[in-house]
């Protein structure tokens, strides 16, 4: 999927604050040239000899050809590791691995696409929007978050998308509510053929339900806690139904992060479903019917 990942020492080119988030642009040619929308990168935090042994998985917001190739990713400060990242300045170096994961599948025909982002999950959608528009697809955005400063990329969405609908749970920007509240209206208005979504698990679950109601495909990029990002630590698993109808605990990093929404058993995330392959009590033979 887009060539094998690279480990590179990238130099920070610029940092900027975007509302509640931090965006870092890093010179990383090996990663930039292999990147496709939906890919992510992992970064080591804390510097040499760090006491933080797990990597942080980050969504890629932008890839540009400048300086041989740059990657811009978005950080939400959630703990000491992401706080360290937010403190990086121009000319600091970062240990990056990428591109990682499976990218979004793109339609062959020019179809109408609704791109749904929750919190900083929308960062991942802009490279996708560019790729879709190059294929003459219509792109409409629905972005939402708890509050105005947590909606990432509203301005860019307005510039890029045919229409952009914003929601906040406190009503501080756009419509009061959640993205799934307004999504059925948008899907109807723009005659959407496909939905792409990235954001918190609860949002992806609701968005997938809308897609199922309208009988259109939904591609979701999940955000699971990861330690390695390359598929060896087995900590980022979630229950997903395979082509053979069997549910398996698959890795968000290496088997995802992009899945067909209706294949993800959102209601069972955080559990081992009794009928999953290898579940306690001998699951795996039963078929899950959606």
């Amino acid at each position: 999927m887009g060539g094998s990942p690279q480990q590179v020492t990238g130099t920070v080119l610029t940092t900027r604050r975007v509302d509640a988030y931090h965006a870092l642009t890093v010179v990383a040619p090996g990663i930039a040239e292999r990147f496709r929308p939906g890919h992510f990168v992992s970064v080591s935090v804390g510097g040499p000899g760090t006491s933080m042994v797990t990597r942080r998985a980050l969504a890629v917001h932008d890839v540009k050809p400048d300086y041989g190739g740059t990657v811009e990713f978005v950080v939400a400060v959630r703990g000491p590791g992401t706080a360290w990242l937010a403190d990086r300045r121009a000319r600091d170096t970062l240990d990056l691995v990428g591109p990682l994961g499976r990218p979004f599948p793109l339609p062959r025909d020019p179809v109408n696409c609704v791109l749904v982002g929750g919190e900083y999950g929308s960062a991942t959608l802009f490279a996708l929007a560019d790729a879709l528009q190059r294929r003459h697809c219509r792109v409409d955005f629905v972005l939402g978050a708890a509050a105005a400063d947590r909606v990432f990329g509203a301005l860019r969405a307005r510039r890029v998308g045919e229409t952009t609908t914003l929601t906040t749970e406190d009503g501080s920007l756009g419509l009061r509510g959640r993205v799934a509240d307004v999504l059925p209206g948008v899907v109807t208005d723009v005659h959407a053929d496909v939905i792409y979504a990235c954001g918190p698990m609860a949002m992806l679950r609701e968005v997938t339900a809308v897609g199922i109601d309208f009988d259109i495909p939904v591609q979701v990029a999940v955000e699971e806690a990861m330690a390695c990002g390359i598929g060896v630590c087995m900590t980022c698993v979630l229950p997903v139904i395979g082509d053979d109808g069997v549910t398996r605990m698959v890795r968000a990093c290496a088997d995802g992060p992009v899945f067909r929404g209706e294949r993800v058993r959102f209601e069972d995330v955080g559990t081992i479903p009794f009928d999953a392959l290898g579940a306690p009590g001998g699951g795996g033979s039963a078929r899950h019917v959606t």
Partner: protein, 326 residues
């Protein structure tokens, strides 16, 4: 003289099996081998250790399975794996085709299950050694972990040894969560273990003070990373002192060549890299290079000369090189 001729002879032996160098991946930390092979040729390592293979496929534990701790991480993956059939069908042949030396880790709920696994592996090409993961609950002993008890560990090891080809060493993986690691080690060797690997993860618990709940779904998990390295060095030290002729694979928080060197000086003849692979996909090859450099910088010509060297009595001098050239 070509520059890429190694200055230090890094060969080591796991019982009678020669490894090109002492650095291996640790069980459960290197996936199927395919993931890391995107970054480097696994054949450059002394050996690749598989995740623990069980009879039936296992879905593992619910998430969250992992939380970061100071200089370490706590994990409860629950031996998620494809089961022996899929392993023999898809994973082992891939490794064998690339001539990657492979240590197969096995785990079971009873002596019979371990034995059945070893029997399935007996005819499979490409098995360099079998590592017996003794940190599995014994369903015939109310879920008590085999590794806690010397007699139970020895019974598993003896049974696996009896069905394994004579030229495939059986390695017993020991847990540090015991009162006397030397007693368990001795029992395993008496049961027929050709080598020992230590340490498996000690157990820990983390509590999320925001949710007021344990951080892992399984409540307790195995602690790994640099936080456990002194524990690993202590176990290797004690067992090497008691059983100096038994090959030991040192495992526990090795992040650098210096850390690997420490385990070797304590008595390990090979070193497995685990959690470091999560942090740095190239960790194993970097550690191998750093270890070679560390040995060369101290005048060693052979890795074997450094194994257990820290046990020499004080005052015997640092000029071991003259002694070793006898």
């Amino acid at each position: 003289m070509s520059l890429d001729v190694p200055a230090v002879d890094m060969r080591t032996y796991l019982a009678h099996v020669e490894l090109a160098n002492p650095v291996t991946t640790a069980a459960g930390c290197a996936g199927t081998g395919r993931e890391l092979s995107q970054f480097f040729d696994l054949g450059r390592l002394g050996a690749h250790t598989t995740r623990t293979i069980t009879m039936a496929p296992r879905a593992g534990r619910p998430t969250p399975r992992m939380t970061e701790t100071p200089s370490g991480l706590l994990n409860a993956v629950g031996l998620q794996g494809p089961g022996i059939e899929a392993f023999l069908g898809r994973e082992l042949p891939w490794l064998a085709q690339r001539s990657i030396r492979t240590v197969v880790s096995i785990g079971g709920g009873s002596v019979a299950e371990y034995t059945a696994l070893a029997r399935r592996l007996a005819d499979a090409p490409g098995v360099t050694a079998i590592e017996v993961n003794l940190a599995c609950p014994n369903i015939e002993d109310r879920g008590r972990v085999f590794a806690r008890d010397g007699a139970a560990s020895a019974e598993v090891v003896a049974s696996v040894r009896s069905v394994t080809r004579y030229d495939v060493p059986v390695v017993a993986k020991l847990s540090p969560d015991v009162t006397d690691v030397v007693a368990v080690a001795r029992a395993c060797v008496d049961g027929g273990a050709d080598a020992l690997s230590m340490i498996n993860n000690p157990l820990g618990v983390c509590i999320d003070v925001d949710t007021l709940r344990p951080a892992l779904a399984a409540v307790s998990g195995g602690l790994s990373g640099p936080a456990v390295r002194p524990l690993a060095v202590r176990c290797v030290w004690q067992v090497h002192a008691a059983l100096p002729g038994v090959p030991i694979v040192g495992v526990g928080g090795v992040m650098t060549g210096r850390d690997a060197f420490e385990l070797i000086l304590a008595g390990a003849c090979a070193v497995a890299v685990g959690t470091a692979l999560f942090h740095d996909p190239l960790a194993a090859v970097r550690i191998l290079k750093e270890l070679e450099d560390a040995l060369a910088a101290r005048g060693f010509q052979r890795l074997a000369d450094a194994v257990g060297l820290a046990h020499r009595p004080p005052g015997s001098g640092s000029r071991h090189l003259e002694e070793s050239s006898l």
